[in-house]
């Protein structure tokens, strides 16, 4: 599922890994494909509500595998639609319950209106996180997950409790598009470091020129909702 430019997340991880000196083997997994043997990082995007239904069955089938990988501390990034389906369930407006894989202790309920616009959140490790949200589902966090950020401007998970996204082990989940990683390279480098350390034991980063990211962040912080 890729409809809101979440490809940017994949591209950023691929390029930064290359710039750090690693060869990247990018595998595209779509519903019905054989799940790859070895995986070092998993990235999932958002989709329309109608796309959600289509991938749900397939996701449940590979759910056990994803649980194993998460327990093994494989870093994962899940945006929007897959963030919701990594949780316990999504309850639609007409009371229909779409079951998730329960990897994240979260639940999502259809909301009365779409939450749309620029958003800024804050996380102690990553600093300010900037992006763009566009979702109607309202997500509520259980006790086994931490929020990814505290909302400074925008709606976040549900517009009520000032949380945005979720963290569990090395999984980062969020509603933020923009794409998320280009303007938040600290999160990209977190995922990269976890993957490399897990695979090779240590990670020696090179210095990447993030001036454009820095300036784009400054602009994003000033834009209206």
């Amino acid at each position: 599922m890729n409809i809101y430019g979440d490809w940017g997340n994949v591209l950023v991880l691929k390029r930064r890994l290359e710039w750090h000196g690693y060869d990247v083997n990018l595998l595209e997994y779509n519903q019905g494909d054989a799940f790859p043997e070895t995986v070092d990082m998993i990235i999932g995007g958002g989709g329309q509500d109608s796309g959600q239904d289509k991938i749900q069955k397939d996701l449940l089938e590979i759910g056990t595998r994803l649980h194993d990988l998460a327990r093994d501390d494989v870093p994962m990034l899940m945006i929007c639609g897959l963030y919701q389906l990594f949780g316990k369930f999504f309850k639609t407006g007409d009371g229909h319950v779409i079951e998730g894989i329960s990897l994240l202790d979260i639940e999502t309920h259809a909301g009365p209106e779409r939450l749309i616009g620029n958003i800024i959140t804050k996380n102690n490790e990553f600093g300010e996180i900037v992006g763009y949200e566009n979702h109607s589902g309202l997500t509520f966090l259980g006790k086994d997950v931490q929020p990814l950020g505290r909302v400074i401007k925008g709606a976040g998970n549900n517009g009520r409790d000032e949380t945005e996204g979720a963290r569990y082990r090395n999984i980062i989940a969020s509603y933020l598009h923009g794409s998320l990683l280009p303007k938040n390279p600290a999160i990209a480098d977190f995922l990269i470091e976890k993957a490399i350390v897990r695979k090779y034991g240590e990670f020696t980063p090179t210095v990447i020129d993030d001036r454009f990211a820095e300036l784009a962040r400054e602009t994003a912080l000033k834009r209206p909702r």
Binding site: N2, I3, L11, Q48, Y132, S179, D209, A216, T219, R225
Partner: protein, 425 residues
């Protein structure tokens, strides 16, 4: 309020806003406020009725083509040619055309309408014909989801009283035929050899969408081929071959849409010779590949609003020999979300690089290019400063600017200070 009175007031506001060099839609907004029925009443008497053109990409260019093709057949056409495609834009354009009694001298009205505004418009003023172009990911921050946009187009189709012309190659648009029972449905389409040039958003990433094995419906107009600037179309049972002044395959496909609509309106009375002559003379709408001359060198403005449009523009306008500038704004009319830039591949600019990156979101664009490893000479968010720098640093070569909607309007204003730019009123 009486009709002549509203008209006079509206015209007065139009005159005053023009004196102070104001925007084109304000007088329309004013008339809308004091007389919500102004448009409906003024257009009601047109002998050939009203035509509505909507969709994500190509509305302005296609509307311009339809107007010129209908004029070639002798019709007097009213249109909102400002590209101000909200209802108030229509009202503003009407104010420029009506006489003081509020009457309009035209046979038919051809209106370009933004999807959301078209929905409220057709509910009060049902069109006789509609042309539905495509549904692409664009301005999702306004409309939510693509499927919501498709529903808006379906409402336009359903409100049409006679003929609905649909894009056969866009699955969401073609599906609208299923809900139309009272209307004649006509299609425009592509020959199978050309369809790969128009990937839809579902096919952008991941698996290609499963093609249905169902025989596609017969299309009244098919774009058969485009070689250089020579295009071949089938029009019913006839074949039309013509050279075009339009650039870019998507503009030429819009011509197929315009032909299909013109055929639906004129029918058997069509004068093919005049039609082809008019088609060959059509130039792009403002900011859609429009060219101005600066220091003896051409400068092209190419509007980009969404990933599919940007990709098509990059593949249609070859960068070799050109200095390239990209100007990205994120005002309401552009869409606030920058995600779309990440669904465009900029590899085609790798050899020549990008001379200038500008606009409110210049650094977002620069960041995007960085990840495609494309060389950037200069970044300057301020459009006026950037334009001057771009022109002076690339004085002796042809230039091209890819720009979002409000960036395009601002750049045209700047350009009009230094060269001849057609005034759009």
């Amino acid at each position: 309020m009486s009709k002549p009175y509203v008209t006079m007031l509206g015209k007065a506001v139009r005159y005053i806003t023009r004196l102070r060099g104001g925007g084109s839609a304000l007088p329309g907004l004013f008339v809308e406020k004091i007389d919500p029925n102004f448009i409906k009443r003024t257009l009601a008497g047109l002998p050939q009725g009203i035509v509505v053109i909507s969709g994500t990409n190509g509305k302005t260019t296609t509307t311009k083509m339809v107007v010129e093709l209908l004029q070639s057949q002798g019709l007097r056409v009213f249109t909102n040619r400002t590209g101000s495609n909200f209802t108030r834009g229509v009202a503003a354009a009407l104010l420029g055309e009506v006489d003081n009694k509020g009457n309009i001298d035209a046979d038919i009205a051809v209106l370009e309408l933004d999807e959301a505004h078209a929905v409220s418009f057709v509910k009060s003023v049902p069109p006789r014909y509609s042309l539905l172009l495509n549904v692409m990911r664009d301005q999702l921050d306004r409309f939510g989801e693509i499927d919501a946009t498709a529903k808006m187009l379906a409402i336009i189709g359903k409100s049409t009283t006679e003929t609905v012309v649909l894009n056969r190659e866009d699955p969401r648009v073609a599906a609208i035929a299923k809900i139309l029972s009272h209307q004649t449905v006509n299609y425009f389409g592509l020959s199978p050899e050309l369809t790969h040039l128009f990937p839809n958003d579902d096919e952008m990433r991941g698996k290609p969408v499963q093609k249905t094995t169902v025989q596609p419906p017969q299309a009244e107009v098919v774009l058969k081929s485009l070689e250089g600037n020579t295009a071949k179309f089938t029009l019913g049972k006839r074949m039309i071959t013509t050279t075009l002044k339009l650039q870019g395959i998507y503009n030429v496909y819009n011509a197929a849409a315009a032909l299909a609509l013109t055929e639906a309106i004129i029918g058997e009375d069509m004068d093919d010779e005049k039609l082809v002559e008019a088609l060959s003379q059509i130039t792009p709408a403002f900011g859609r590949g429009e060219t101005v001359t600066i220091g003896g060198q051409p400068l092209e403005l190419v509007l980009v609003k969404n990933p599919s449009g940007f990709r098509l523009s990059l593949s249609s306008f070859k960068p070799a020999g050109y200095a390239t500038m990209i100007a990205i704004n994120d005002n309401y009319a552009d869409g606030r979300d920058m995600s779309w830039l990440w669904d465009v591949e900029f590899d085609s600019l790798k050899n020549d690089g990008v001379a200038e990156v500008a606009g409110v979101r210049a650094y977002d664009m620069a960041l995007r290019l960085q990840y495609d490893e494309i060389l950037i000479s200069h970044v300057e968010p301020d459009l006026s400063t950037a334009l001057r720098h771009f022109i002076s640093s690339n004085a002796s070569v042809p230039k091209r600017i890819f720009c979002t909607y409000t960036a395009m309007l601002a750049l045209r204003r700047e350009l009009s200070k230094i060269t001849n730019v057609e005034v759009i009123s």
